[in-house]
């Protein structure tokens, strides 16, 4: 087991290195210079641009820039091109904003998708199954921002509450209870929208997993020995259907950055996705690169976690590893 973990970690570190080189070259080779964002500004003289380029090492060869980036990232000294703020601190502040949204959405996905998917599998072909199928496909197929606008219109018109942003402006001096409630209310709609696609995909997946398992011999055996339907479904079938989902826990992590650009943009949510979008607009290479790097770290950590979880949960893999090591 230890050899397995060690090999896995080393492999992933190598991958991370390649990813960072690739990301760095893609961003720097693409046209569109950070110093050319504001070309019409009359106060930008050529010597200013030269000064900026020198300060950001933009005239050095690519591999030197890469070394600078890595050195600054590791020592935590990396500065944003846009406002010279430390990048890691900026990302950390935004991360704290994104985290509740992400946690809330993830919680919704996993608590809603399982009952819906299991019920659909049990009642295969019935009205419930067909309705959830159609609803799930619709949620998968709708453009995210279209759905978000529809929901915002509906919520604002029906309940008359503000839904945009982190909190209502001007509530700073209100009672702590009201401030908390305001924050929670602002969290509900974006996380519902964020979660909708995930619920749809995951519940379909759970349904097909359950259908696959329900046809197996051990489920028939459980029925034959007279176990109640609940025991059959939840103890015998569900346990075995759960196996692939262990891996999905790990794969959720990178959604923190990539999945939220549009949602955070619509809801004016100052999170990581929006930070990335703003950085792209400003050609703020250090922020873009670091976000990309963090996303890669999260992905690799996620797959690593799921590999380990798989080995823990599935005895077949575990024994295979012991023989291996």
């Amino acid at each position: 087991m230890r050899a397995f973990i060690l090999r896995n970690v080393l492999q992933r570190l190598l991958l991370l290195f390649i990813v960072s080189i690739l990301a760095h070259s893609v961003i720097h080779l693409a046209p569109g210079e950070p110093s050319a964002v504001d070309p019409s500004n009359p106060r930008m003289k050529p010597e200013d641009i030269a000064k900026i380029r020198a300060a950001f090492h933009l005239d050095d060869p690519l591999y030197v820039q890469y070394v600078y980036w890595m050195r600054d990232l590791m020592s935590g000294e990396l500065k944003s091109f846009k406002d010279s703020q430390p990048v890691l601190e900026k990302i950390w502040r935004r991360f704290l904003n994104s985290l509740p949204l992400f946690l809330c959405a993830t919680l919704l996905v996993w608590t809603l998708a399982f009952p819906i998917g299991i019920q659909a599998a049990i009642r295969r072909g019935a009205v419930y199954d067909r309705t959830t199928t159609v609803v799930a496909y619709t949620l998968i197929s709708v453009p995210g921002f279209f759905l978000a606008y529809l929901v915002i219109l509906w919520v604002v018109n029906t309940f008359g509450v503000p839904v945009i942003g982190l909190k209502t402006f001007g509530m700073e001096h209100a009672d702590a209870l009201f401030r908390t409630m305001d924050r929670i209310w602002h969290l509900v709609i974006p996380s519902l929208i964020f979660a909708s696609g995930g619920v749809a995909v995951l519940s379909r997946y759970i349904r097909s997993q359950m259908l696959e398992v329900i046809g197996h011999d051990y489920v028939r055996t459980a029925r034959a020995k007279g176990a109640t339907e609940d025991t059959v479904i939840y103890r015998h079938a569900l346990r075995n259907a759960l196996l692939p989902f262990v891996t999905m826990f790990g794969l959720l992590l990178p959604g923190l950055i990539g999945g939220s650009v549009i949602i955070e943009q619509i809801f004016a949510w100052p999170g990581l996705g929006r930070l990335g979008y703003e950085a792209i607009l400003a050609r703020d290479f250090p922020v873009i690169l670091t976000l990309n790097f963090i996303a890669a770290v999260l992905t690799l950590a996620g797959t690593f976690l799921s590999d380990i979880l798989y080995a823990v949960v599935d005895p077949r893999i575990r024994t295979g590893l012991q023989g291996d090591a």
Binding site: A30, P31, S141, Q265
Partner: protein
């Protein structure tokens, strides 16, 4: 998947005792038809294809509907409103003198723009998926067939699979957004970037299929009679590895259309003069109260089309699933 046997009778289903009495595709078609939702989706897609081709013809080659005519006196007209006879030049009148889907903030005919956009949106989906299919099939096939060939110290298989892992590390939408934003705005860049970031699934499917197929009798037989690799790969293995690829391609087109609309929303989609459903929708969001049709028509159009692609994809997955065969 057994090699195909010639059909004995034209009437299928008569010889239930002899399973391979119908060809693979005929059987898949029969299974596909059992899913009514998927059949409906297939009809929608057929209709869409006709619409897109008609749209290309009627808006660019034989201009019946001109999406680029600006009629400022006629802006924000709701659907089905008649065109005025006095305010605009007679040449600018829409076909039939009526705005079927209304006009937008510049008085352009939304119906004409939707027609033009159908072709553009669909070609973004098809070309992006085409690119990712080619890359995915070539890399997956290489990895599955020549995986053991040593290339220096590492095998071809390791090399390609690690490349796939590297690509999977990038947050896809963020990467697409970054590259599209940095490159000069062009519809081809969007297609290529979506294609280049979407091939990993296909490569993995094809590799897995190839690894399984290599051990099957008909491939071993073809190799043993001395068929060249090229022939074994392209006439024996590729056709048999197509089922999962076809499914992921269908769903990939849907994803590409959604990605394009997401890019349009953020302002990095296809730029004018091209109209796509995504950028009509993204432009329409500013007029959601004054001219709701500018928002709802493209929104529901995208929803229906993407839904059709997804439903057909799932229907194909069921129909091509070997576990459901011969039932």
């Amino acid at each position: 998947m057994a090699p195909r046997t010639p059909r004995a009778h034209s009437g299928s289903g008569r010889d239930e005792a002899l399973p391979p009495s119908e060809t693979l595709w005929r059987e898949s078609l029969r299974l596909f038809k059992r899913d009514r939702l998927a059949v409906l989706g297939a009809w929608v897609l057929a209709l869409l294809l006709v619409t897109a081709l008609l749209g290309k013809t009627l808006t660019e080659w034989v201009i019946v509907f001109d999406p680029s005519v600006v009629r400022l006196p006629e802006k924000f007209l709701p659907p089905l409103s008649p065109a005025s006879n006095v305010d605009i030049h007679p040449d600018d009148r829409p076909f039939g003198g009526i705005y079927v889907l209304g006009t937008d903030e510049l008085g352009r005919d939304v119906f004409a723009r939707m027609l033009q956009g159908a072709f553009v949106s669909l070609s973004i989906g098809f070309i992006a998926v085409g690119i990712s299919l080619v890359i995915g099939i070539v890399l997956g096939g290489l990895s599955g067939f020549y995986g053991n060939v040593k290339f220096g110290v590492i095998t071809v298989d390791t090399l390609i699979m690690r490349l796939t892992d590297v690509m999977l590390c990038f947050p896809t939408f963020f990467l697409i957004l970054t590259v599209v934003a940095l490159l000069p705005p062009s519809i081809y860049n969007i297609m290529v970037v979506i294609g280049l970031t979407g091939w990993m699934g296909t490569a993995r499917f094809v590799r897995a299929e190839f690894l399984a197929l290599r051990k099957l009798d008909f491939v071993v037989a073809a190799t043993s009679i001395g068929a060249p690799d090229r022939r074994v790969i392209f006439s024996h293995m590729v056709p048999n590895a197509m089922a999962p690829v076809l499914v992921s391609a269908t769903i990939g087109v849907a994803t590409a259309i959604l990605t394009e609309s997401g890019l349009s929303f953020l302002g990095f989609g296809v730029q004018p003069p091209y109209a796509t459903w995504g950028n009509i929708l993204a432009d329409g969001k500013g007029f959601i109260f004054d001219a709701p049709w500018l928002f709802f028509i493209p929104g529901f159009a995208i929803l229906i089309v993407v839904l059709a692609f997804n439903v057909v994809g799932e229907g194909l997955r069921e129909a091509l699933n070997p576990k459901l065969r011969t039932r």
